[in-house]
Amino acid sequence: MTVDQAPNRPLQLTADGQLRHFLTLDGLDRAMLTDILDTADSFIEVGERSIKKVPLLRGRTVVNLFFESSTRTRSTFELAAKRLSADVLNLDIRTSATSKGESLSDTLLNLEAMASDMFVVRHAQSGAPHFIAESVTPGVAIINAGDGRHAHPTQAMLDMLTIRQHKGGFEGLKVAIVGDVLHSRVARSQIRALNELGAAEVRVIAPDTLLPRDVESLGCTVEYDMQKGMKDLDVVIMLRLQKERMEGALLPSEREFYRLYGLDQAKLALAHPECIVMHPGPINRGVEIESAVADGPQSVILDQVTNGIAIRMAVMSMAMGGQMSERNQNLAGGEQA
């Protein structure tokens, strides 16, 4: 027994269980995840209109704070915020305040003082969005756009939306995640989401150097041999392999990795014939995936991108709703006091 360890309070939920930040999928139940997917479904229709806007975030200011570079994720967040009618400010922090020696806390407090309502945060440190939500600007809704190796919850949810569109649901599904799980925030969030939504099996396929310690504890099985691991799969998710992994003595060469763990047509043929192929992007053709597979009939990689906007609209509108209802309650409470 240990004493008084970090209380597991739901930092990202209001007292009545609504989202007020979106930091991680940990602690969100199946009903909440399904609610996010359903809300995103309703926004997909918005993207098909000639005027692609709804007024849910009108008058609100959303700041994209990317401490790590990203083109796709930042663009989809920006589009999502604009379709919700928010005012959007994009800050590339690496080239601004922090390079002049300003601390993260000071940068954020300054932005908060500009009456920001929501920060979309990407950061190289695991837990950075938690830190901001808990200690720096608790009155601003924080959306995690990827933190270190910890979580990338909007990516995982857009992947879930894509799977649901193609498979109808999650019951009975066998899903594999292939490649660099160790360094992947995407994989951690996907494993969590697939478990909560009721997938039958989540397999990770990788050499031991690319797996976190005791990875099974996350809710998955381990397969070192991709030929065996492809059997009966309904969904195969490929992860991006960073070039630096070769330098860190985690892998001998790209060529050997591709031979053993790259998804080519021969390996894909071992899976269920209707197995879909996913990748969070950007893809390295010929490193983790063959072009013929990435562009082939089983690939749903571009659907993932389209769904990214809808999921981000869903999460932003839900978190802003929770944040506003909490602000109103605080105001009401303040008047009573």
Partner: protein, 435 residues
């Protein structure tokens, strides 16, 4: 509370307290008489003795003053994190009468000038004894030997690496052989830097779940094994500081059985907390070595109970708030513990995980012996005493802590054990107004 001192020559009698007699594990009610900074009578001899002042210690335990082998006072050089005056006063409040000052200051304590400076400031501003620990290598850089013999003459009681690496086994072996030449004690925190790499948390379940950068258990155990083998060969007096894993405790026990002169300590927080403390990214619990698994915590406790681990240390590391106000991996390691070390130990006693006599011995006699000293409440001993009420409680919070570091492990909740009086060589180092 006061910081006043008894006039030298004045005598004091502490009555109605309970104490542990040397060589005994039982608490008995007995009086203690002090004069001229020395314990002049204990027990029966004390009952009839007269004294100028009487302190009623009813309900309290009269223990030897606590001894800390690992404390960061942050002076010279890190005034924003604390200084000798602030941190020794905090230590006196925690019941300590002796603290070993870590060499990790700025500049590092690798020269006689720094050692003298620490001693001079302590002489002027500290209510308790401050024993400097010298850097084993110059600048703690792990490459060149420091002037250990000279530093020893200047007042360093042992030599350590302050958790930093030594370049390779060859340098380590030479550090040991040189220290052995002069009969010096080495206090080493074992960590294989290549295996620890950029990690900041135990490589285990929580790290895997949260995507933290892990320090594997083998970063410690391979280093412990290397140090034990080199200590065996060189014959140096080796003290392993702040063990964190079950396997390390096993290896130390085995080495002792083979007759190697090795002792060990553990930080109090390692006995209370595990990797789970980081589950909410709480940067206070970013400590080095990291908090490991529950099985490690239990083995460390067993090590303290069996005596394989000789001492419990505070590993007090005060910081300014900015050092902890950042995403977990960007924060500085360390907890502010010196005021709550005894209370944390009493939590373990209240939970039945440690006996009170064993706790006290690991905070007094055990560490004192490593310094070649004794710590007993006995006639003729220096009057270094800690009088504490184990049943009273206090609540550490931002306002109540004396240390400049406000990142205590158990803030805002009542803790058992209030130190009513700390006496250092018969002088009052800390006292709270009687109830």
């Amino acid at each position: 509370m006061t910081n006043s001192s008894n006039t030298p020559g004045e005598s004091l009698k502490i009555i109605n307290g309970r104490l542990v007699l040397p060589g005994s594990d039982e608490l008995i009610e007995a009086s203690v008489v002090i004069a001229d900074g020395v314990i002049t009578a204990v027990g029966k001899a004390a009952e009839s003795a007269r004294a100028d002042d009487v302190f009623d210690a009813a309900g309290s335990i009269v223990a030897p003053g606590l001894v800390d082998l690992c404390c960061n006072l942050r002076e010279p050089g890190n005034g924003q994190k604390g200084n000798i005056a602030s941190e020794t006063r905090a230590a006196a409040r925690g019941g300590f009468t002796t603290v070993c000052a870590s060499p990790e200051t700025s500049p590092v304590n690798d020269s006689g000038a720094v050692t003298h400076m620490i001693r001079d400031v302590a002489q002027a501003r500290s209510p308790i004894r401050v024993l400097p620990v010298g850097a084993v290598t110059r600048g703690l850089e792990g490459e060149l030997l420091s002037d250990m013999a000279g530093l020893s003459s200047a007042g360093c009681v042992a030599f350590g690496n302050a958790g930093r690496g030594v370049r390779n086994a060859r340098v380590l072996r030479r550090c040991m052989a040189y220290a052995k030449t002069f009969g010096l004690t080495l206090m080493f925190s074992p960590e294989n830097q290549a295996l620890a790499a950029d990690g900041y948390a135990h490589d285990g379940l929580v790290t895997s779940r949260l995507g933290l950068l892990g320090i594997p258990e083998v970063a410690e155990t391979t280093s412990v094994m290397e140090m034990l083998l080199l200590a065996e060969e060189t014959g140096v007096r080796l003290h392993l500081s702040q063990l964190s894993s079950a396997r390390s405790v096993e290896m130390v026990a085995d080495a002792r059985q083979r007759g190697i002169a090795v002792t060990a300590d553990v930080a109090m927080h390692q006995l209370l907390f595990t990797e789970e403390a980081l589950a909410g990214f709480d940067s206070r619990f970013h400590v080095r070595p990291p908090l490991r698994a529950e099985s490690d915590r239990r083995a460390l406790l067993a090590g303290v109970r069996d005596g394989v681990i000789d001492a419990i240390v505070s590993q007090h590391q005060p910081h300014d708030s900015a050092a902890k106000q950042a995403p977990l991996g960007a924060t500085e390691p360390g907890l502010s513990t010196i005021e709550s070390t005894l209370s944390m130990g009493l939590l373990l006693v209240n939970r039945g995980e440690l006996t009170l006599p064993r706790l006290l011995s690991a905070l007094t006699r055990g560490p004192a012996a490593i310094l070649g000293e004794t710590a007993d409440v006995s006639e003729g001993a220096a009057a270094n005493l800690c009088v504490f009420d184990p049943d009273a409680s206090w609540t550490p919070d931002h306002h109540s802590l004396i240390s400049a570091g406000r990142h205590g492990p158990l803030m805002g909740s009542p803790l058992p054990g209030v130190v009513r009086m700390t006496l250092c060589s018969g002088t009052v180092a800390w006292q709270v107004a009687s109830r």
